[in-house]
Homo-oligomer: 343 residues x 2
């Protein structure tokens, strides 16, 4: 009984086969389709696997099987709790299906995103998850050429042909704006993330305009400040709003983090929320309930979205469900940061 091991390290399939006295094919079958192997043999092989501490070589497996069982995700940043949550659920669900997650972040930068997408595809990702629709056609072309199934998350637009799982950012924000307007606010301002390559932010801002128009207000008459993500930037933006448009009585922010910044700036400026000014957020992450006062915001089912994204991507990889879209529902969460307009 000869031994294939070069005795120099990690056990290979051949070592296991040898140890268990079977062929490599049998070991491979044991691992990949156990039902095709006899009970005794299977036990013997599994013991060998354990005894030797065998783990399949990824490269070899990928090469021979022509797939990596690896799925990639490019998100703006994990430091945004919204994506951390979604990604967590995404990974859990992938894990449940035997897939692993490759991650990279774009820092809300389109160019960086493109780089990351290329890198991840080069790393053999079988499929990829991207946030929002906005990106250069080059990336989409590259992905198509490489035949890498792609799923969009966090955005949902029935008119877009790409598979997506998300929610209607525009309608959700419009709903919230309706509430704000319902409280008598006419001078609304918006603190937004840069909208240039971020359809989510853009749609949310448009949602406010929609609601204004519907309520007979001039949709053009909306102060919008764009600023990067962060509590501090939210503070600065708030001050800017109060300087540029002191008549403002409600500030709608496109996410909770900016809103918390606004809240903080308001306090520092001695303004009472919601008596002097109302503030709203978007996402409903933990800090929304922790803030003083608690934030009125739009609740987004991030975890569910992550889970669904994983399921959909897996379906797509299997070849089913091509071009399917899934819209999730959001929900307005009214809390103390929204009050009637002062007069």
């Amino acid at each position: 009984m000869t031994n294939n091991t070069k005795d120099n390290g990690v056990p290979t399939l051949a070592d296991v086969a040898n140890y268990a006295n079977v062929s490599t094919a049998t070991v491979s079958r044991c691992l990949n389709s156990p039902e095709r192997v006899g009970g005794n043999t299977r036990k013997r092989v599994m013991k060998a696997v354990r005894d030797l501490g065998y783990a399949p070589n990824f490269g070899a497996q990928a090469l021979a099987a022509r797939q990596t069982n690896t799925v990639a995700a490019v998100i703006p940043t994990m430091e945004n709790a919204v994506f951390a949550r979604g990604l967590q659920a995404f990974q859990e669900e992938l894990g449940r299906h035997g897939k692993t997650l490759l991650v990279a972040s774009s820092a809300y930068n389109a160019e960086l995103e493109e780089q990351q997408v290329r890198a991840l595809v080069a790393r053999g990702a079988d499929g990829i998850l991207l946030i929002g629709y906005d990106r250069t056609p080059e990336i989409y072309e590259f992905l198509a050429k490489q035949k890498v199934p792609t799923l969009i998350a966090w955005s949902f637009n029935p008119e877009e042909p790409r598979p997506a799982v998300g929610f209607n950012n525009r309608a959700a924000m419009a709903d919230l704006a309706r509430q704000v307007i319902g409280q008598g606010h006419e001078n609304i301002a918006c603190i937004s993330a840069p909208t240039a390559s971020n359809d989510r932010a853009r749609e949310r801002v448009e949602g406010i305009r929609d609601a204004k128009a519907k309520a007979g207000q001039d949709p053009k008459n909306l102060t919008v400040i764009e600023t990067p993500y962060g509590i501090e930037t939210g503070e600065t933006a708030f001050r800017q709003v109060m300087t540029n448009a002191p008549q403002t009585t409600a500030i709608m922010c496109v996410n909770d983090v900016l809103a918390v910044g606004a809240l903080r700036a308001a306090r520092e400026m001695g303004m009472k929320v919601p008596n002097d000014i109302s503030v709203t957020g978007f996402d409903d992450i933990e800090i929304a309930t922790l803030a003083e006062p608690p934030l009125t915001t739009v609740h987004v089912p991030h975890r569910e979205m992550g889970r669904c994204a994983a399921d959909m991507l897996i379906q797509i990889l299997k070849g089913d469900l091509i071009g399917h879209n899934l819209e999730l529902a959001t929900e307005i969460r009214i809390r103390q940061s929204l009050g009637p307009a002062p007069h």
Copy 2:
């Protein structure tokens, strides 16, 4: 001139070689160490690569080169901002060095962690980042057997031989406890995460005992409630403390999230912080400053830790820096949640 292509799709190295009239070796060299190839040949090959739209096959590359340029991390959960931050920095730094990140989470569950480690190693991780020292010897043995370089983060213990980048959880918590004791507190309670397989939590609790002993208090006389991670669980734990040990005047939590829960419970019970009771946290994440009142806590340089972890792991992969440890400094952040003991 024969052609190797099976004409069924993606071009291979052989196709490029063929097209450019050189050997596969030359093409490979062109791509991996261009300086070893003549100028003319190089140009011809690069043109072929472009003309054919060639991209290397990941599996084959990994198999032949015996490395994937992929690094894995298993963290408890990305929903904990602490790990999200660290991981983000970790990924950024890896990216800067051309490595990609494979992620999985253990949900603070040792068994799950073991599974994930195996899965990631099977996915070809060249190295792996793990949180804390505590885990079964099996995992360490497996990792050793598979020769996968491993780095521990978030813990630092000079007596442990494994490469690690972290901070002294025990000393940091002892420092904070000293501050608490300095405020006259004698009846301290601790809300901890389960310590069974979490050396970070265990060490932090011990840190409190150390400080008590040093201050002449009985280290045994410390109410400790263990509870899973979460704001709600922190609330429940707080109530439990006040039931079991109503004489308590300071509650030290092993992380900020539990502390925020405690704060909330205190408010619900009509207790003033810090007048009636003091509360402290650990980590100094965003919610620490957002809480009402802001939390006294231990600031941990999560991002720096993530960045350093990436650097160290890369060094280790290169073969340098075997068995090195790196200790980072923490810092006490005194805020309003800590006050003098009531009398």
